[in-house]
């Protein structure tokens, strides 16, 4: 620790601080406190810091000196440095000539109304960008549909493989578990009233209309939506999207359309797969728990579930696919050039997609029930 011997001359109201030892990071805090204390004393008009006995002075020491100097100058006091060695002088001169920027004036804190206003403007801007993106997707889809432009070779198959085939095990596992759980619940309740075989009706309908599409959508949100947002965000950070734009290649057609098209195929397909696996799981539990033969179970499912129910489930699956795809594309493309932004885009994709999936499901279920289907 540096020893700072202090002497205050009452006549000249000048404090003299004689430094001993190094003024470096481990000792700077104590020295800062001591000099600041002197600078604030009413009976001190000036401070003389004597470096004759000082050892090494690093940036922290220089920062302490310049801070105290500025503080004293503001209150009309002065700080004088004496006994400077060659190295001390060189370091101080270097800083003096570098022109350190002044501390900015305190920024007035943003008020509540301004924060709300900024937030609303942010949402309006995001909405505008989303509409522009949807229009561009529509335009690029038309270009591809009319064969004026093509999707990148092999991109659609690759995306379907990544989003669909690779997701089969997890969808099968969760679909099967969901079907068995539903069956256990139904069996316990319905068997009590002698209506155990109606568990097939319950499982068939709920898997086809609700759980198949919904569960698959949530898996795809976490697995595929998040991946799309992270991929696009990382590409944005690495200027890959800018590179496409400067080449005159539409990033929407090159990057987004294959993903959106793949999702449109994959989500309903996986939903159907999850539905059948779920029904099979339910069939197994019904057979084991209350001895409903598989044939009877299947007949009841086929009898109860109509083509309309299938269309309902498939329609919702396509809607969910577009919710996931658009959310991931929009948020991924809006990523700014920093790593946190990629993480935010990924997280928000999952949260926003799940929110809208459940919202759309609730709205559709309400209208369907009002319409009697």
């Amino acid at each position: 620790m540096p020893v700072a011997v202090t002497h205050v001359d009452r006549k000249t109201r000048t404090a003299t601080v004689a430094l001993r030892g190094d003024l470096v990071i481990p000792t700077a805090q104590a020295m800062y406190g001591q000099l600041r204390g002197l600078a604030r004393r009413r009976d001190v008009r000036g401070v003389v810091v004597d470096f004759a006995g000082a050892g090494r002075v690093d940036s922290s020491g220089i920062a302490v000196v310049t801070l105290v100097q500025r503080m004293m100058a503001r209150s009309g006091k002065r700080l004088e440095l004496t006994g400077l060695g060659e190295t001390h002088r060189a370091a101080l001169e270097l800083v003096k000539h570098a022109g350190v920027a002044a501390e900015p004036d305190n920024v007035v804190p943003t008020g509540l109304a301004e924060r709300i206003g900024a937030s609303v403007l942010g949402y309006v801007e995001a909405g505008r960008e989303l509409i522009a993106l949807v229009i561009d997707i529509g335009h690029q889809t038309w270009q591809v549909a009319t064969r004026k432009k093509a999707l990148p070779k092999g991109a659609l198959v690759e995306q379907i493989s990544r989003m669909g085939a690779d997701a089969l095990p997890i969808v099968a596992l969760l679909g099967g578990l969901l079907g068995t759980t539903l069956a256990f619940q139904g069996v316990v309740l319905l068997h009590r009233f002698g209506a155990g075989q109606f568990v097939a009706d319950m499982i068939g309908l709920s898997m086809v209309r609700e759980f198949g599409p919904m569960m698959t959508a949530i898996i795809l949100t976490g697995r595929t939506g998040a991946a799309i947002a992270a991929e696009l965000g990382t590409m944005r950070v690495g200027s890959e999207i800018d590179a496409l734009a400067t080449m005159g290649v539409s990033p929407t057609r090159f990057l987004l359309l294959p993903r959106l098209a793949a999702l449109t195929f994959v989500q309903p397909a996986l939903s159907l797969f999850a539905t059948f696996v779920g029904i099979a799981g339910g069939m197994l539990i019904a057979a084991l728990a209350i001895h409903v033969p598989a044939g009877v179970f299947w007949d009841r499912v086929v009898e109860r579930v109509t083509l309309m129910d299938f269309c309902h489930g498939i329609g919702k699956s396509v809607a969910f696919a577009w919710i996931i795809g658009l959310t991931a594309s929009h948020l991924g493309m809006r990523t700014t050039a920093d790593a946190t932004s990629v993480g935010n885009a990924t997280t928000r994709t999952v949260v926003v997609s799940v929110f809208f999936i459940i919202l759309v499901d609730a709205v559709v279920a309400t209208f369907a029930s009002l319409g009697g289907s």
């Binding site: 990071i25 805090q29 800062y32 690093d58 220089i62 920062a63 801070l67 350190v100 920027a101 932004s341």
Partner: protein, 246 residues
Amino acid sequence: MSDVLLACRDVSVGYDDAPVLAHVDLEIHRGEIVTLLGGSGCGKTTLLRAITGLLPPLAGTVTLLDHDMYAQSDDDRRALLRRTGMAFQQDALFSAMTVIDNVALPLRELTKLPETVISEMARIKLALVGLPGLEHRQPASLSGGQRKRAALARASILDPEIIFCDEPSAGLDPIVAAELDDTLRQFRDALGVTIVIVTHELASIRAIADRAIMFGDGRVMATGTVAELEDSADQGVYNFFHARAS
């Protein structure tokens, strides 16, 4: 305290047991500006990674500030590395932080200095590298040269005894590159910092290097002052300095 800040003894570096450089012996002395140079892929950056604790050498010992770096515990090695600074080729600034927060990060994490002193130190370092007034900008809004300067400010914020710079002037225009060389020289002259620069920029080597160590063919090809290397009898070294294909 020894005058030799860094020594490599029979060091081999590489990946997957395949050495890129073998049997490297070198010493860096206090207060020197030394350039490690050579053509692309010669292993100079790989050696720098070994020197800075990022890649254990395949063989040999790296002695940094009188300590065998890879014989230290993790905590001791970290303490040793705090006495050094590293400016990466791709600047490695944290994109989500402002410039001043990037520069102040080591102080906030590793010292108990008051925030006013930390902030002042960061401002001083940013002024020294020629970036006053850009404290509250995000790294993404800076030019390549400004980002390299900010990275140098961060590397020097703890007043290290030795600063390593990986390709500091790569991708910069000659004027900005020369300014960066001046800044490095000022750091050495005024603050007494030892500087090790990995580069293959001839203008930069000629401008600031007290000594150069040249690598090629998986070994140290030559060591000496820039003038000595420029007149080297070794054809590979001569060709490098006179920009001739061998």
